[in-house]
């Protein structure tokens, strides 16, 4: 027990963003996060980490060939995939916002860095569950697109796309959602990682079609602690990193009025998400990643 607790505390330490920031390899980050997360969890068939064989299903294009039961193939000439307990036979599409506003934050990590950690961790976690993983990196335009796939090499590609994300320009949700609808018709899981500095109604208009499509959408609302609880001791001229607009604000406003506004905005996004059947998870960039992963697994559990 003591050893388990030690392992758990070490794993939890690995989930701290500032610790992860010291890891240069995103895959390593993702593996560290997920493995650490797993160590902290009990085995649960409901979470799909069990390796107990559950059933066979027909091989479909995009499935990981590693799970083909070759004995069955030899005997029957047909390809079947082993399904284990917890396998949902689903896919996870990660929509990663790489707009300029995502570059704000830190130290130790900016929102985009944290988003990349989160996206990579989700991708790795999903791949462990034999889910196909894809990603769309966007700002005002689609910067990168990886269709969902459970093949081993495909995860590496997704990691590469996530790792290559850099703060871009403005934020435009309509295009990635449209791209997703076009390219990923199958029903699956959609994780949108963004700071959602947008109009809630406009977001609702973008998410609703996905819900109608049967997608299960979770919005990871990522904010830096300085955005949620800013502290300035004197008037300051704040410049919007996306639009260049500069606004002079007073310390009193930033200490009292602005936190209320940001909470209201977060609430409006949550409300919009709920109104479209999506989940909303507020994540601060100084929060350990296990909480975000836990929320993902709960979300996934509910969607099964």
């Amino acid at each position: 027990m003591a050893a388990l607790k030690t392992a758990q505390s070490s794993a939890r330490q690995l989930l701290q963003p500032e610790v992860l920031a010291g890891l240069k390899n995103l895959e390593l980050v993702a593996r560290s996060v997920v493995e650490g997360f797993i160590i902290g969890l009990h085995r649960s068939p409901h979470f799909g980490f069990s390796q107990e064989f559950a059933e066979y299903r027909m091989y479909e294009e995009g499935d990981d060939p590693r799970f083909i039961d070759w004995n069955v193939y030899a005997r029957t000439g047909r390809t079947y995939i082993k399904r284990f307990l917890g396998d949902t036979n689903s896919h996870l599409m990660i929509l990663l916002d790489s707009s300029a506003s995502m570059g704000f934050g830190g130290p130790p990590v900016s929102k985009l860095q944290y988003a990349k950690f989160l996206a990579a961790s989700l991708a790795y976690l999903a791949s462990r569950q034999h889910d196909a993983v894809g990603c769309i990196v966007f700002d005002e335009a689609i910067r990168d697109f990886r269709p969902p796939s459970s093949r081993a090499g495909k995860l590496h590609g997704v990691m590469h796309s996530i790792d290559g994300a850099t703060p871009g320009t403005g934020t435009q949700f309509e295009r990635p959602f449209e791209k997703f609808r076009e390219q990923v018709p199958r029903r699956g899981l959609v994780a949108v990682i963004s700071d959602f500095y947008c109009d809630a109604d406009a977001l609702l208009e973008g998410v609703r079609p996905l819900a109608w499509q049967g997608q299960d959408v979770v919005l990871f609302h990522l904010l830096d602690r300085e955005e949620m609880d800013p502290s300035f001791d004197r008037n300051v001229l704040l410049e919007d990193v996306e639009t260049g607009e500069a606004v002079e604000v007073a310390p009193d406003f930033m200490a009292e009025e602005y936190p209320r506004r940001i909470r209201e905005h977060v609430q409006s996004i949550a409300t919009a998400a709920s109104g479209s059947g999506a989940d909303h998870v507020l994540v601060a960039t100084d929060d350990p990643l296990d909480q975000a992963l836990r929320n993902y697994l709960l979300f996934r559990e509910r969607r099964q």
């Binding site: 506003s101 995502m102 704000f104 934050g105 929102k111 700071d195 500095y197 830096d224 955005e227 004197r234 008037n235 300051v236 001229l237 704040l238 410049e239 919007d240 990193v241 996306e242 639009t243 607009e245 500069a246 606004v247 002079e248 604000v249 007073a250 009193d252 406003f253 009025e257 602005y258 506004r261 940001i262 905005h265």
Partner: protein, 658 residues
């Protein structure tokens, strides 16, 4: 306060620069990136409205730097409020205090100071007041101002001196000074008004430009005073001329010392002037100090001592060449030269044809009673003697007639014009500026029967001409020396010059001129100037009667005019040796008789009528402004340093906060 260059104040507009820069800074404040301005709202409270003391202080310092720089160039000045003189109406009041020797009488000068203070107090408010001390010079005691306290203080520091006041000279200087003063000019003259101070012409005491003269007389009663008028060397010793002004029964003892040795004491009594003789003086070679002291009570003690210098030098030998050493010309010339009272000449007659020219080296000059007597053999020797710096005094007689040229000089002669029948010529023209003739009088009495005419020479201007235009006395430079030739003989068949007193004076003056002896005056009046000429690289040094050197070390290398301020004996050290000079109070200061009241009244009335119309207040003198720009520059430097220091503090704070 005023500004000498007010246009520079326009530079204060530059303070807009630091104000603008501070607004920029405050408006921009800290600029930081933020994720989104979507939820931000501009605050209504602007930074530049907030009163942060540190930025305001820096802004104030920068504004002050610009203002002080502009002010420094504008040259601010202030004037002493107490010295401001009214522009018109009050005019100028001169308070002139007589500080001559006669004012040293007991109680007189303190009375004069009180009168002067009263005159200052009586001056109208706003009038310019100038206190002046007057004796042989007019001295301004304080700058012209309306500050009565300052002028009163100047009066308190005054003392009577040892010099004479001439009212004519004083009024002339006041007239010049009044031209620069604000009209009307009132002169308050506080004096004992000695009659001896009045000039020969009354008009000389009426100055132009003065609206009013207030003659404030001090001293009263009949003055009683003994004074020394003159001291001279006599054959037996010393003669002293004394003067008694006052009661006839008063006496005084007169004591004479020569080189600090008492040679006698006499008692003087009676009114008027008379001579006391003091025989038995033993003269040392060189300068001898003679000191005369009057012992007794009188009103003025400052004139009870008299100083003189008697120079005792052996007669200087001079050869006299004559065809007849026993003749009358030699007698006349010897007698004339023997009449010198000081440092005379000893005539050594020689027969011209027997004269050994080798002895000429012993002499500086020689006399020839008939230049025609110089033989052809002697002529070149004498010519060489003169050319090398010697001098020759020559007369022309019988032996000159018939020559074509004058020996030595080479002047061409004309045929003689012998007048007959008793006709004679008078002196028609003479050069009064020449040193030989300037001190001689009586030439108009001289008659000339015969003269030696010479050819006219356009390059030579005779010292004296007869009334027929012919030269009588000529001077001719020859090399380093000179020749002074009288173109007539010392012979009563030629002229009657030797029987006139002017002959002795002429011969003595010529002897002094040709022998190189300068005017060695050794007795002066206080206030006179003693010239020190430069010899080589130094002029000399003078030690006053108190034993103090008069000149600084630098002054000893320049020609100087030493003003003899004190009565007593001065020691003069020059490269030529040491001499003594005596200075005495002007004897006229001993004459204490006051100007009559009628003359004083007339003097004042004449000044009243001499008022010139007052046109405007121009010419008023205002005190020199006290310029403040050096202090402003100093303050500017302090502010610049403070601004730099405070600016560095802000920079350091920003570096740390960033």
């Amino acid at each position: 306060m005023g500004l000498l260059a007010p246009l520079f104040l326009a530079a204060t507009l530059a303070i807009a620069l630091p104000i603008w820069l501070h607004r920029l800074q405050t408006q921009s404040s800290d600029r930081k990136p933020f994720s989104s301005a979507m939820l931000l709202e501009t605050t209504e409270q602007r930074v530049h409205v907030q009163k942060k003391l540190k930025y305001l202080l820096l802004l104030a310092l920068r504004i002050a730097v610009f203002v002080l720089a502009a002010l420094a160039f504008a040259k601010p000045f202030i004037e002493r409020p107490a010295t401001e003189i009214a522009a018109s109406g009050a005019g100028t009041h001169l308070i002139v205090v007589d500080t001559s020797t006669s004012m040293a009488r007991s109680g007189v000068f303190s009375q004069a100071q009180n009168r002067a203070r009263q005159a200052i107090d009586d001056a109208p408010a706003g009038a310019g007041i100038q206190t002046i001390a007057a004796d042989s010079t007019m001295r301004l005691l304080r700058p012209l101002s309306a500050d009565k306290g300052s002028q009163r203080a100047a009066i308190a520091d005054l003392e009577p001196g040892s010099q004479r006041l001439d009212y004519g000279r004083l009024m002339s200087e006041i007239e010049r000074y009044a031209q620069s003063l604000a009209a009307p000019v009132t002169v308050n003259l506080i004096s004992d008004f000695q009659a001896s101070g009045m000039p020969a012409q009354f008009a000389d005491v009426v100055p132009n430009g003065v609206a009013r003269l207030n003659a404030l007389a001090v001293g009263s009663g009949e003055p009683v005073n003994w004074g020394v008028v003159l001291v001279r060397q006599s054959a037996e010793g010393v003669d002293v001329l004394v003067r008694n002004q006052g009661l006839p029964d008063r006496t005084t003892d007169v004591e004479v010392r020569v080189n600090d040795q008492l040679i006698g004491t006499r008692t003087a009594s009676g009114q008027g002037e008379y001579v006391l003789s003091f025989p038995g003086a033993e003269w040392l070679e060189g300068d001898n100090r003679v000191e005369v002291t009057l012992i007794g009570d009188d009103d003025l003690a400052a004139d009870n001592r008299w100083f003189s210098i008697v120079r005792n030098e052996p007669p200087s030998p001079v050869p006299l060449l004559s065809a007849d050493p026993g003749g009358l010309p030699v007698t006349y010339l010897s007698a004339a030269l023997g009449a010198a009272t000081e440092a005379g000449f000893s005539v050594q007659p020689f027969a011209a044809h027997e004269f050994d020219p080798r002895i000429l080296t012993r002499y500086r000059w020689l006399i020839v009673d008939d230049i025609g007597a110089i033989s052809s053999a002697l002529e070149p020797v004498i010519t060489e003697f003169v050319t090398n710096g010697g001098s020759l005094l020559a007369f022309s007689g019988e032996r000159t007639l018939g020559l074509e040229t004058l020996p030595v000089s080479g002047l061409a002669l004309q045929p003689a014009d012998l007048l007959g029948g008793g006709d004679f010529l008078r002196i028609g023209q003479l050069d009064r500026q020449h040193p030989v003739l300037s001190a001689t009088q009586g030439w108009h009495r001289v008659k000339v029967l015969r003269n030696v005419p010479i050819e006219p020479d356009a390059d030579m201007e005779p010292l004296m001409r007869l009334d027929n235009g012919q030269p009588l006395i000529v001077e001719q430079p020859l090399g380093a020396g000179r020749i002074l030739i009288t173109l007539s003989a010392i012979d009563n068949q030629w002229n009657d010059l030797p029987v006139h007193p002017v002959f002795v004076g002429f011969v003595l003056e010529a002897a002094g001129y040709l022998s190189g002896r300068t005017d060695r005056r050794n007795v002066y009046t206080t206030g006179d100037t003693l010239p020190l000429t430069l010899t080589g690289t130094t002029a000399g040094q003078v030690v006053d009667p108190d034993g103090e050197t008069v000149l600084s070390l630098a002054d000893t290398a320049r020609e100087q005019l030493i003003r003899l301020e004190k009565a007593g004996i001065y020691e003069v050290y020059t490269p030529d040796g040491e001499t003594l000079v005596a200075a005495n109070v002007d004897p006229r200061e001993s004459e204490l008789t006051r100007i009559s009241q009628s003359v004083l009244d007339r003097w004042q009335d004449a000044t009243y009528s001499n008022v010139e119309p007052v046109t405007d207040g121009s010419g008023s003198l205002v005190p020199e402004p006290i310029e403040l720009w050096p202090w402003v520059l100093l303050l500017l430097a302090v502010f610049v340093i403070a601004e730099s220091a405070l600016g560095n503090v802000h920079i350091a704070m920003r570096v740390r906060s960033s």
